[in-house]
Symmetry: C2
Subunit: 234 residues, 2 copies
């Protein structure tokens, strides 16, 4: 029996890499990358294509959602807003309500909407996204409830015969568990890019590098990409 | 007291023109236009700017969602799919389940997502959209239920302090009632554009021209824009 088609959102980071490896087990994946005018898009796109090559994906699409850059409101899209150099506060204080400056307003809804449009046209029935709810930055659009609500919007906003649901296979994982799952599935972490600041050598200190290094350190596995500095986060 | 800010989605057609006139009564509007690579975008953008000038709107944004054109699947974005030359079947047969070829897959979710991102950054609490549920093409993403479900996604996918809801003031109107409401509010129909096919003189026979002419004829009001032909639809 042929595998059913799925759209996999691949930013090029470690979570989407492992999500892609999971999606490939049972599905025929089409890879979707989003350029939303983020600072490191050139490097992320390179990682996306390297991952698509690695997984042998022919069907790939880059959607340009550059209105998110025009709109701004995030350190990832507005050079005037400083990128945080620390692990997000909520990892030390689960009651923390402050959303990091790297939150791109309603970004994941924009991304999912594009994914659903593509899925409906190519006949994919699942959309995979590597969101992590608890052990990450605490963005509102990375919560299980958000994806559940979005499933209802898909059901109501597409053709009656269209059946598409969102899959979030790592949403309950600790970041270190994502590393371990990736190791088990031979996910090519060496091809991924996570740094929010640099496009040549990862800085090691921005929020995203901090989360990633902390995850590899907690998993007891060496991160295969080079860093300018490699602080201890666990 | 100063009026509260609202984002108004303005395609440039008659429904968004009247929706904008309604929004202007109680709000301070910011106008958002979407270029999704539709055939008549050049003309629609001209109508958008003419409407924004008319209503004295300084805050305007054009979001480029051209992935919807890359994705295709609609007669509005794919030249290989023929534009229907008739009033949609559902207007004669309410049980009709077939969605017109002009349906752009999940378009309104893409549009709303962009509107919410902008609204969150500029502090708008309402998003106005001129969707019409019954007396139009029968697109799934023009139904009240769809907007209600999207409100839940906004609540969950934005910052805790963000409160944004979608307003659909004409969703239950007949198209002829929209014409009458526009007349009452002195909405500038002469600046609008509805034709799906042409960018110079409206064809008068495409699905969108048919719906518009039918609405003006039912309202007993002369449509102020010129047409190549003007069939009787009522």
């Amino acid at each position: 029996m042929s595998k059913s088609r799925a759209v996999v959102l691949v930013s090029g980071g470690m979570d989407s890499c492992v999500t892609a490896a999971i999606a490939c087990i049972k599905h025929d994946p089409a890879f979707l990358h989003i350029n939303y005018g983020q600072r490191t898009e050139r490097r992320e796109l390179k990682a996306f294509n390297a991952l698509a090559d690695h997984f042998g994906i022919e069907r790939r699409l880059v959607a340009e959602l550059t209105h998110l850059n025009k709109i701004g409101g995030s350190s990832l899209t507005d050079e005037k807003i400083k990128i945080s150099e620390t692990v997000p506060a909520k990892l030390f204080n689960p009651g923390e309500k402050e959303i990091p400056t790297s939150y791109v307003p309603f970004r994941n809804a924009n991304i999912l909407a594009a994914a659903v449009s593509w899925a409906e046209v190519i006949g994919a029935r699942k959309i995979f996204i590597g969101a992590v709810e608890e052990d990450s930055s605490g963005y509102p659009d990375c919560r299980k409830q958000f994806y559940k609500a979005f499933d209802a919007v898909i059901e109501l906003g597409t053709k009656p015969e269209t059946k598409i649901t969102i899959e979030t296979p790592v949403i309950n994982f600790k970041k270190s568990e994502i590393v371990l799952k990736g190791k088990e599935l031979k996910a090519p972490f060496e091809l991924t890019w996570s740094c929010y600041k640099n496009e040549d050598i990862a800085c090691g200190v921005c929020e995203s590098c901090a989360l990633r290094l902390r995850a590899f350190q907690a998993a007891g596995i060496e991160d295969p990409i080079p860093y300018m500095v490699k602080p201890k986060y666990v």
